[in-house]
């Protein structure tokens, strides 16, 4: 059942047709609007306003190191994560300073390693830097600022990627749809967990 069919079912199930002004045509219209909104994770037509071109390019590299493409789904940039982060910086201004400062820290540290900013250094040099800051338990206290930023960026990337349509499909998220009945914990999940409704 696709989304529009779900919404139609809702309209019938809910007797919404009895509510003045709510017709199947209107439901169709609302479903179409929802589909447009969903395109590109609600970011269709949005242009970056918070990040400079070079910051944006560095961010794109970083988020793809965090969530690369694999055989189940695309990369963070495929799911428009940099655009999402830029939008969130505008929407939640408390994110602005940490992201700007974190990206500056990455470039400055990159210069110390390779003499050039992150975007201009090699993949091997990228790994050297990322390995210093991606594992908080074993990281050197000298790079605490980088570790803190990378943990925050990992969280933002996960938010943007997994909440996208691509991310939900990857996870096999099957909720958010009307159900005729509630059947409880699935047989497979019960077997995995070693539980039952009889115990």
């Amino acid at each position: 059942m696709n989304r529009r069919e779900s919404l139609k079912l809702m309209a019938v199930a809910s007797l919404a047709a009895a509510i003045p002004g709510c017709t199947v045509g209107k439901v169709d219209e609302a479903a179409l609007k929802a589909e447009h909104a969903a395109a590109n994770g609600g970011l269709a037509g949005y242009q970056p306003t918070q990040l400079s071109a070079s910051e944006y390019a560095t961010l794109g590299l970083l988020v793809n190191y965090i969530i690369p493409a694999d055989d189940r789904s695309g990369s963070a940039t495929d799911a428009a994560v940099p655009l999402f982060i830029d939008f969130m910086m505008g929407d939640a201004p408390e994110l602005q300073e940490p992201v700007h400062a974190g990206l500056a820290w990455i470039d400055e540290t990159s210069r110390q390693i390779s003499g050039v900013p992150f975007a201009e250094s090699t993949t091997e040099q990228h790994f050297v830097l990322l390995d210093q800051i991606a594992f908080p338990e074993t990281a050197s206290p000298e790079v605490l600022e980088g570790v803190t930023f990378f943990s925050a960026l990992r969280d933002l990337t996960a938010s943007g990627f997994w909440s996208s349509k691509m991310g939900m499909t990857d996870l096999n998220y099957t909720g958010n749809t009307p159900q005729a009945s509630w059947d409880g914990c699935s047989h497979d999940a019960m077997a995995h967990l070693g539980i039952s409704y009889d115990s």
Binding site: L15, A16, I66, D91, F135, W182
Partner: protein
């Protein structure tokens, strides 16, 4: 000069459209009264405006909260802790976070639907432990109303026969989710009872309202009216009588009184134009939320009521309580890699742990708490997988550098850890004390020029030690389930992790009922001692909080109060002409 709306008085003016106001409107209009309802917020309709069945990716912020919707952009509550131009203040060294809903239906639009009756002991706590006060009424007085509300609104649950957790008229409860079965097993091993939850969500058709379709999004506003809000159950039939007029964007300023000290109407500010309007009414029912109703009464000063309406006792605003709150959370290795399936269920918990130590008098605190649970593979949104570096170091694979990381292994860790966490929340009873109160701040007014509230609330050791007990018990249940608590129990210096007063959004007290006018604001009919045609129908009349969520008792009291208004006031024509 204020604009005077009409010289013909309404039978009743109700301030507020939430649980208490909605029930009052339902009962009074059905009885034939002409009712005017004032709502400070805007028009909002659950069927038209609810965000049910939206994917988080339909919005660029993916469900994250906003300034006007702190619990998430799709959460059906316009308002929040801070509303521009409507400040409140606190006495230094005290806390109160005040949530206000500004919309038709109030907080019933987004609430948790946990619909618990107070039990017989909850009305007589002073007789049991010597603290606070007994109510002027008992469980038997409210039982008929609880019964009728169960049938009118619809509630699921199970008959358990627990003395202080009275059973109701229940629809079948939904089976527990996977993680809820785990909680039940883990708690049972410790001798802690787990029963089906009791939520006002239909699991069967009721009248023209279909049963739940299990999308788990009650808080977004149900478009099929399968759960309870005043809009799904109470306002439509009230409007259908033709006797109810709802005025939105109407911020009540003052209850107007006549020379005898009786109410003659209400003055309000049209929040869109700033114009002041006066309406006349034979009876005034305040249901604006415990603190807003108290504030309105305090601001209604006249020669007959120099200390605020019906406040010669100086009790108005006192005995303010909230529920205590605390959270624990665990990581469960057996949930890693568990097969995904639709776990949405109803919009809330399917199981419930009622207070199980009612008879234990050896505890170092007086009152009990219950435990709510949460977890599962819900819809991914803003915050998904947050803080993964604290847990992915614990799962299988090469973890020599610890948690965190990046790349293919991390990407897979997000999939594997989705739904591997279960949390529990303790919600307990705070003892009603005179020292915890709200009052008018003499130096601050809101943008409408109305004096604002100043709060003065502190937890006592009874509340702190109760939440310490919850933290210890919650972590014990997590371990008993085979999990690992995510954080250490907060120490005394952190008040054992207790929430700030107000944060559980159960504001109760402030206009309490009682037999003695010297230590109460209202009589046992929720009628003001000093103004016979003024009633309060929110949680202000509560004498004590109980660990139970207040809505079902607000509804029962409001129904009882409204029927008293019909039989004893309107019909006997005792009201001001």
């Amino acid at each position: 000069m204020p604009y005077i709306q009409s010289n013909t008085p309404y039978d009743v003016c109700i301030v507020g459209s939430g649980a208490g106001g909605g029930m009052a409107a339902y009962v009074l209009t059905k009885a034939g009264a002409n009712v005017l309802m004032l709502e400070a917020g805007g028009d909002w309709d659950t069927v038209r405006d609810g965000d049910m069945l939206k994917y988080n990716y339909e919005s660029p912020r993916r469900g994250r909260g906003t300034k006007d919707r702190p619990f998430g952009e799709f959460d059906a509550c316009d308002g929040g802790w801070n509303i521009e131009g409507e400040p409140y203040t606190k006495v230094e060294g005290t806390e109160w976070d005040w949530w206000r809903a500004r919309m038709v239906g109030g907080r019933t639009n987004h609430w948790g639907r946990i619909s618990l009756r107070f039990g017989p002991d909850d009305f007589r706590r002073k007789s049991i432990d010597g603290q606070g006060d007994d109510w002027p009424i008992g469980y038997d007085d409210l039982k008929p109303y609880y019964d009728r509300i169960d049938k009118l609104i619809g509630i699921f649950g199970s008959v358990e026969g627990v003395y202080n957790e009275p059973d109701g008229h229940f629809m079948p409860a939904p089976k527990p989710r996977c993680y809820e079965v785990m909680v039940k097993n883990g708690a049972s091993k410790l001798g802690i009872p787990v029963i089906p939850s009791r939520l006002s969500i239909l699991t069967q058709q009721l009248g023209d309202r279909p049963g739940c379709h299990y999308c788990g999004q009650c808080n977004r506003g149900c478009k099929t009216r399968s759960n309870f809000s005043t809009q799904t159950v109470l306002l439509p039939p009230a409007l259908a009588t033709g006797k109810l007029t709802i005025v939105t964007n109407a911020m009540a300023r003052e209850v107007l009184t006549d020379q005898e000290g009786k109410a003659s109407g209400v003055s309000y500010v049209n929040t869109l134009t700033g114009e002041e309007v006066q309406v006349k009414a034979k009876v005034v029912v305040l249901a604006a939320s415990a603190c807003e109703s108290a504030r309105l009464m305090m601001n209604s000063k006249s020669s007959r009521h120099p200390n605020g309406l019906s406040n010669s006792s100086d009790i108005l605003g006192k005995y303010l309580t909230d529920s205590t709150g605390g959270d624990v959370m665990g990581f469960f290795p057996q949930l890693v890699d568990s097969p995904a399936h639709n776990e949405d269920g109803v919009g809330g918990m399917h199981i419930y742990i009622p207070w199980w130590l009612e008879k234990d008098r050896s505890l170092p605190f007086a009152r009990g708490y219950h435990i709510e649970t949460w977890g599962g593979k819900g819809m991914p949104g803003y915050g998904f997988g947050g803080g993964i570096q604290r847990t992915n170091g614990k799962i299988s694979g090469d973890r020599s550098r610890g948690g965190g990381g990046y790349g293919l292994q991390l990407k897979n860790d997000y999939r594997r850890l989705w739904g591997a966490f279960i949390g529990m929340s303790g919600r307990g009873e705070m003892i009603a004390r005179k020292e915890n109160y709200c009052e008018i701040d003499p130096s601050v007014v809101d943008k409408y020029g109305i004096p604002v509230l100043r709060f003065n609330v502190k937890w006592s050791d009874d509340e702190l030690l109760q939440m310490k007990h919850f933290q210890e018990t919650g972590n014990e249940i997590i371990r008993s389930m085979g999990g690992e608590p995510l954080w250490d129990i907060p120490g005394k210096e952190d008040n054992y992790g207790i929430t700030r007063p107000g944060q559980i959004i159960h504001e109760v007290g402030t206009t309490r009922m009682g037999k003695d006018p010297k230590n109460s604001v209202l009589n046992e009919h929720c009628q003001a001692h000093e103004a016979a045609n003024v009633f309060v129908a929110d949680a202000g009349p509560f004498v004590s909080q109980a660990h139970k969520n207040p809505t079902w008792t607000i509804l029962a009291l409001s129904m009882r109060t409204s029927e008293f208004i019909v039989t004893e006031v309107l019909k006997r024509n005792l009201a001001a002409s």
